[in-house]
Symmetry: C2
Subunit: 182 residues, 2 copies
């Protein structure tokens, strides 16, 4: 149901094609909603249309692929707001990296260093993207939400930078001695 809400959320703000909705997924103010691909978005838009929550208008530009521009209807807006008005489920936060860190002592030190590097780079990218979008944006609720994201990502990046050496050491120490299961 999360792709559904995401599509409605985007269309609530402005008309868009499936392609555009896909591009927005996981970025800016939608960073923490979903990262749906085409395979979820296109079928979802068709379903929303059949339910009357959105309408489509096709645009045939000469010598360009035809576009389907989706708009949310009043019924769609109402449905969306109603769906939001239930106490939101709690966050799902899943981190394959934290599974790696949990078993750092059984993995090699080089690998751990590379995994940390990759994570640091990723967090930095996400952060700069979010910061850029946040300064551009003038809607107060969007700004509040993006600042929330910036705050938590910053905390995450700072922890990683401050404490990465400790994790790297755990991996180094373990690989230099015979290992025993915990």
């Amino acid at each position: 149901m999360s792709t559904r809400k995401f599509c409605l959320a985007v269309l609530f703000c402005h008309d868009a094609t499936g392609y555009e909705i896909r591009r927005i997924a996981g970025e800016g103010r939608f960073a923490f909603i979903t990262e749906a691909g085409y395979g979820s978005i296109y079928p979802c838009l068709s379903k929303l249309e059949s339910e009357g929550l959105v309408t489509v208008s096709e645009e045939f530009a000469p010598s360009k692929p035809p576009k389907k521009i989706y708009s949310i209807t009043n019924i769609g807006k109402e449905a969306f707001v109603n769906e939001l008005m239930e106490l939101p489920a709690h966050d799902t936060f899943r981190s394959p990296f934290l599974l790696v860190s949990l078993f750092a002592q059984y993995l090699d030190a080089d690998f751990i260093a590379r995994a940390i590097d990759a994570r640091e780079a990723y967090l930095r990218d996400k952060l700069s993207e979010l910061r850029a979008q946040a300064t551009e944006c003038c809607n107060p609720a969007s700004q509040w939400t993006m600042e929330y994201g910036i705050t938590t990502l910053t905390a995450s990046l700072e922890y990683l930078q401050k404490h990465r050496s400790r994790l790297e050491e755990i991996a180094r120490e373990a690989s230099s001695q015979p290992q025993a299961a915990e």
Copy 2:
């Protein structure tokens, strides 16, 4: 594949039944791995057994339901470590609450206040549970990982406490005036 890794991770540390694995899901050092239910765990354990990564021993205590205690095999340990030794995928963080905050201006102020209250309570609970587990635990990698979680949850809770009034005001202001779409 995440339930699979989670089961192997738990069994890497100690033997357990499906029921126990379920209880550990989403708690302590496994807080950020998965929150799988019985419906994922039991079939997963059967599959791991058929692959030879774990073994089962049944325990028939008189006047108690029979238990199936799973143990990881050497092949299982090896497979697990090998699966971890690929650069971890990036985190997935999905927050239904942040979708609500994004549209705060269209929702009623009371509802926003309740949603924030619920989130604050949830974060506080998660944090105290994690802190309790972190002090009990003496494995350095587990501790590093839990402190990571504590750091980000703390940042999240602090943001919410400091800035909740701004979000509440957005909802209040909007409901007192005629609304226009963004």
